[in-house]
Every structure is written in C-alpha cells, then in structure tokens.
Subunit: 135 residues, 2 copies
C-alpha cells in the first residue's frame, strides 16, 4: 500500500499527521519525532547503523557528548525500541549497543535528511552570514 519512497502524501495530509488532526495534546507522530529529535539521538543511531558499539567506544567516537547524556540518550533510544542493550559477563562487564529492526528502519529517512543537510549547508551558512550582517 505505502511504498516507502513513492506515493507520498500531500502537504496538508502530512501536516495533519503531525497535528493528529487537531488533537495536539496526544499526537503520536510528534511524540515519535520528538524522540529522535534530541541533540544526540540521530547521531547515535547513525553511528550504530554502521555496526554495534560498546559504551566506551561510543564515548570515544563522539568525544563531545558527556557521559551523562550518552547514558541517558541510549536509555531513551532503548526505551523507544530503536536500540538493543546487551551486557556481556566479562570482567569488568562490557555492554554492547546495537540497532533493532525498528532502529534500522529509521536509517533511510534519516539518511535522506543528512544528505539534504550535506547538500545545503553552504546555503545555510550564506543565509546566516547575510542575516547577521543586516543586524
């Protein structure tokens, strides 16, 4: 019925989806978008899309994330079903994080957003420079 790429909805339909047809208090789509909207969520998903990583590896891979936010973002991603967390009984115990099927299914749309950003970041920087000059 819905192939992933073609058969796209109209602008109005998409907006309705994001507003739950007017019921703002409980809109599942915005709720889900919020979850992957966090500062670190998408970055970690993209990292784990390549291969599973351990906690310390992720910390070294993304040096500007605090340990606190890494813990919490991974926890949230796990709660939403995007990430699987497995503890191995080594000494000291090591913990491996990997994407679930649900998490993997997010890769494609996320990738398109990243590619858009890659194609357009020059335009954005130009716009900012021009805007700041007028202020």
């Amino acid at each position: 019925m819905d192939s992933k790429i073609f058969n796209l909805k109209s602008k109005l339909e998409v907006y309705k989806a994001m507003t739950n047809g007017g019921n703002f208090a409980d809109c599942p789509v915005r709720d889900v978008i919020q979850g992957i909207n966090g500062k670190w969520s998408s970055l970690l998903v993209m990292a784990l899309a390549e291969k599973p990583y351990r906690f310390g590896e992720l910390r070294r891979l993304v040096p500007d994330i605090s340990q606190r936010m890494l813990t919490q973002t991974l926890f949230d991603l796990q709660r939403d079903g995007y990430v699987h967390r497995e503890v191995f009984p080594t000494k000291p115990p090591s913990v491996e994080y990997s994407l679930t099927d649900l998490g993997r299914s997010m890769f494609l749309p996320l990738q398109q957003l990243v590619q858009w950003a890659e194609l357009n970041h020059d335009a954005v920087r130009e716009a900012r420079k021009a805007f700041d000059a007028r202020i």
Copy 2:
C-alpha cells in the same frame, strides 16, 4: 550527479558526514541538523509548506507553542534562510511568514521522516509499554 532519492551513500559515508570526518568542533552537517532539530522547527516548516501564514494564524494553528517560542523559532528559521518574513503596512501591521526555496527543498526529506513516524508510532508505543513494564 546526486539525484535526490537514489544513489544513496553508504552507512559509513553518512556517519562521516555527520562527524565531519572526525572534526567534531565544526561539523556543518550536524550544525544544520541541529537547526531543524528544535522542538518546533519541523512542525512550523511543515505548516508553512502548505501555505504562508501570519503570526497570529500560526499561534492559533499550533496552540501549544508559547508566543515566545513561536517568535524565536521563526526568527531562527529566518536566520537560517528557510523562512521569509514580510511585514505588510496595514494597521496594525501584519506579518506574513512563508518558506523560501531552501525551506521548500527541506520538505521532501522531512516528509519521509514524518511518514516513517506515522508508520511506526505503534511499534514505538508498544516498545515503551513493554520497557516500562520491566522497570
């Protein structure tokens, strides 16, 4: 060279784009993603994709945004070149917000993310319920 939908990059390439090949301090892609990652940014872009709106219309359209955040989010979107702001010399003056070409070009990738969210929000809610039950 890069058609929008096909010819996608590998997972590793996408991750490299998000990390600027290791230079985390100044990664344009993450910078741009951050900009549209805000709590209200994508929602407003999707609303304006349908048609231009005035400030008050947007406020009524998205009742759970505070006036302060509406002002600020629109300001940021304008600064990044996604939104055009035009003041009409009516009394009192009215202000119309519309998407620029750059803003419109964001619609497609954003739409795919929204559709993904629409298709998968059930799975996410299930995952959360299951996870919370174990805690």
